[in-house]
């Protein structure tokens, strides 16, 4: 049965001991991590795996099934490639599809990205899935959250200042405002040197 925690009170089914309450509420979290090639999102994944491992991983002793860690990567689509033609300045050509070579290059880089990510998740007893989407990153991530009903969305943050943020746009900002689930924004570490490299 679903124990949905609503704002007004504790679920009524677990009344007696704290142990039963603990067991019933011990649903592990389904966490989604948004990835791109930037260093910050890898750092976000590492941070998430380290700190959230307890709330995601399965516990064989208590037969508690683990939650799911979903890594989502969004390809920004370039809907049109507009090539200004050489001679006449006004005529432009638009192509509908991404040229084959670009597609291949993109697939390779995505494969590399996921390989790296799965390396980070390996050995942490966390069930991991990957998801590739295409489109505008901010919107696709929010849509993915809605469709998969995850409990938590994790994004990295480039740590842009206010002005850059206004011009370059910020996926983490957009998701913080529009995602339908709690969002965790992992900020880049202050110092450049860390223990693990």
């Amino acid at each position: 049965m679903e124990t949905y925690v609503d704002a007004t009170g504790v679920d009524t089914a677990a009344t007696t001991t704290t142990e039963t309450m603990g067991k019933q509420n011990k649903k592990k979290l389904n966490v989604m991590v948004a990835m791109d090639e930037s260093k910050n999102s890898f750092y976000a994944l590492e941070w998430a795996v380290e700190h959230l491992r307890d709330v995601i991983s399965a516990e064989p002793e208590t037969d508690q099934p683990g939650g799911l860690l979903t890594l989502v990567h969004v390809h920004p689509t370039y809907l049109q490639y507009i090539y200004p033609s050489g001679g006449t300045a006004s005529a432009v050509y638009a192509t509908d599809s991404v040229p084959e070579s670009m597609k291949k290059a993109r697939e390779e880089s995505t494969a590399k990205l996921f390989t790296r990510s799965l390396e980070i998740c390996r050995g942490k007893m966390v069930k991991t899935e990957t998801m590739i989407l295409e489109g505008d990153p901010k919107e696709m991530i929010c849509q993915a959250v809605e469709q998969t009903h995850v409990d938590l969305l994790v994004v990295g943050s480039r740590g842009l200042g206010m002005i850059k943020r206004a011009f370059l746009g910020s996926v983490s900002d957009y998701c913080a405002q529009h995602a339908k689930c709690p969002i965790l924004i992992v900020r880049p570490p202050r110092e450049t040197s860390t223990t693990s490299k």
Binding site: A7, G22, N25, E50, H51, A176, I185, R187
Partner: protein
């Protein structure tokens, strides 16, 4: 790299008197603390920022000096209620050992300072879910913290009931 007992990462939850804050605290306790008693994965610190009375009164007219004590008393009252509610929630979820702190000042600065003071790993705040205009006018603490805190920030929103 397992965290030993003394070196638990610190989680700070910022609360005010709004429902969204209560929801955020409850959600956090439910997901991160209640199931793991007594070995919680984080050390929990609950922080309430009591607004400064003079700052809240703002640009009032001639009667400001008289109003301030009343506003101050009211704010103190609210702060006490907030703390009691937080304590009650912790009790209900059997989460012991949480520290509760109250500071005076603007919530944004208070939360960022507390993060620095405790070298927190994670700051949790609720969100009013304001639209763009309200956000611009009223300001958003969760936005500010997400950009300025020196640790990761988790924003917990109360889900809107969809019909």
């Amino acid at each position: 790299m397992a965290t030993s007992g003394e070196e638990k990462p610190v989680m700070i939850v910022g609360i005010d008197e709004s429902e969204q804050s209560t929801y955020a605290l409850e959600w956090t306790l439910d997901r991160f603390f209640a199931p793991y008693a007594p070995n919680f994965p984080f050390k929990l610190i609950i922080v309430h920022a009591k607004p400064n009375a003079v700052a809240s009164v703002g640009l009032a007219g001639p009667g400001t000096a008289e109003v301030v004590p009343y506003v101050d008393a009211d704010l103190k009252h609210t702060a006490v209620k907030v703390i009691e509610k937080a304590k009650g929630l912790c009790q209900t979820k059997s989460v012991h050992g949480a520290m509760i702190e109250v500071f005076e000042g603007d919530a944004r600065n208070v939360l960022c300072e507390v993060v620095d003071k405790h070298h927190a790993s994670l700051l949790v705040v609720g969100s009013h879910g304001y639209g763009a205009i309200k956000r611009a006018v009223l300001g958003s603490v969760s936005d500010y913290c997400a950009h300025h805190a020196h640790c990761s920030v988790m924003i917990v929103k109360k889900p809107k009931i969809k019909v």
